[in-house]
């Protein structure tokens, strides 16, 4: 291309200034962030981080409009944190954000685990992995429990093959898909140490903190709300106590444990209502969860020594 004369060069250059605020509004991101604030309790550092990433991408886009060279940003991420801290939910939001900003074309999320990527015999892994990558093209590939891909104890494990294909795609097809790796912090750390290629290709490491007790209580109440239940004032106090006890027991999975506990409380509520025979039930009876529904939990029974209760809860969590 020959150097254009000044006049056409000026015409090609868009306005003198870019209004980032208007850009932000136009991209539809405020909606997503509002939704995030409304639907997800706590996680302040994560939300901050997401806003930072969104800001970076917006600025990148603005720079592009001025013809300032920017390499395609590396968007691969790793989400580390304990179970039930909202990694998958956030990955969905991330896909939406990247889609709004135009960094992925479709904005769908494909969730996979080791099973979907790694084959069972020689020559099985590559087609399987490629199939998944094909499905994820134009969207976000979310690899749950990514550390399972790498099994150091078995040198003939096919996981290595999947890892190599993934690394290649993460490097060469950066505009086709974004990979998010998720898993427990300590195991992911070991995974990254064993596969330095991954660490260098992942731009954003986001660590999910555990929820505090009030946050868990709020999560529980929101979950109940979506199912059209509510806690009676006394049940709320008891549930707060329950959370405090449950948190110290093994196999605590944050939001997921709360959901399980509430599911069991609903079960007890149902059987309580069923056994009670003093006339017809009102809407209130059907929606309110009473303190006794929660107090019947084994977490309270086992609390003095923390032995019997934790065993039972552990089994529940595992099943």
């Amino acid at each position: 291309m020959a150097a254009p004369p000044m006049a056409t060069a000026l015409k090609a250059v868009p306005p003198e200034a870019v209004d980032l605020k208007a850009d932000f509004e136009a991209s539809g991101l405020p909606e997503i962030f509002d939704q995030l604030d409304r639907e997800m309790v706590g996680l302040a550092p994560i939300k901050g981080r997401l806003r930072e990433i969104a800001a970076l991408l917006l600025v990148d886009r603005a720079r592009q409009r001025f013809g300032l060279a920017v390499g395609a940003p590396t968007l691969h991420m790793s989400f580390t944190g304990n179970p039930g801290t909202g990694k998958t939910t956030l990955a969905l939001k991330m896909a939406a954000i990247l889609h709004r900003l135009g960094y992925v074309r479709r904005g769908h999320l494909v969730t996979v685990t080791r099973d979907d990527l790694v084959g069972q015999y020689i020559g099985h892994t590559a087609p399987k992995t490629k199939e998944v990558l094909k499905r994820a093209a134009g969207g976000v590939l979310f690899i749950d429990e990514a550390y399972y891909l790498y099994r150091p104890e078995n040198e003939r494990d096919y996981g290595q093959e999947a890892i190599e294909i993934l690394l290649q795609v993460m490097e060469n097809q950066r505009d086709d898909l974004v990979v998010i790796l998720a898993g427990y912090a300590d195991r992911m750390e070991r995974f990254f140490q064993a596969n330095p290629g991954f660490r260098s290709r992942v731009a954003h490491h986001i660590d999910f903190p555990d929820y505090g007790e009030e946050e868990l209580l709020e999560i529980g109440e929101r979950q109940l709300e979506t199912m059209n239940y509510r806690l009676s004032p006394r049940a709320r106090a008891v549930f707060a106590q329950y959370i405090a006890l449950r948190r110290d027991q093994p196999h605590f999975a944050n939001g997921r444990s709360i959901r399980n506990a509430l599911d069991r409380a609903r079960l007890r509520q149902a059987s309580r209502l069923f056994q009670r025979n003093d006339g017809p039930l009102s809407v209130d009876d059907l929606t309110v969860i009473e303190a006794e529904d929660i107090l019947a939990s084994r977490v309270f029974a086992g609390s003095p020594d923390g032995q019997a209760g934790s065993q039972v809860v552990g089994r529940e969590a595992a099943s």
């Binding site: 094909k134 499905r135 969207g139």
Partner: protein, 139 residues
């Protein structure tokens, strides 16, 4: 002789960008996208070999284009076409089909006349390429 068949037979060969756009259209319509190849150019040859399975769970054309690239790598010397199959009730048939790859040299067809009973003449076309066994025709 340049072989033409399918939806865009009247146009010059599509570029990869145009192919991507067409594939994306198929995907957006909910059609399963297929890649087929053959080295028998006869217009009545409906039995093309399939490259892999029909791709019905793909959201973005990039996945199909990746498959097309690997098909071209192996069968780049044959005809390759992409078709979109509409599985919805009432259609259940191919809605779109176009050639995306052709051999460098296309020798064309011979017209054969066969004298039959009386003064009747039977005509048939025969691809010059098809005189060689399958797999050796264009390489």
């Amino acid at each position: 002789m340049r072989l033409t068949q399918g939806t865009f037979s009247f146009l010059p060969d599509l570029t990869d960008e145009q192919i991507t756009a067409q594939v994306q259209y198929c995907i957006d319509q909910g059609w399963a996208v297929n890649i087929e190849f053959t080295d028998d150019p006869h217009p009545r040859n409906t039995y093309w070999d399939m490259w892999g399975l029909p791709m019905f769970d793909i959201r973005d054309a990039a996945g199909v284009m990746g498959e097309l690239a690997s098909c071209r790598k192996i069968y780049g010397d044959r005809y390759i076409r992409i078709s979109g199959f509409d599985a919805s009730h009432g259609w259940e048939s191919v809605r779109l089909s176009f050639i995306v790859n052709r051999p460098a040299n296309e020798p064309g067809f011979a017209l054969e006349r066969q004298e039959s009973d009386g003064r009747r003449i039977l005509y048939s076309t025969r691809a010059y390429a098809a005189q060689l066994p399958e797999g050796e025709r264009y390489s």
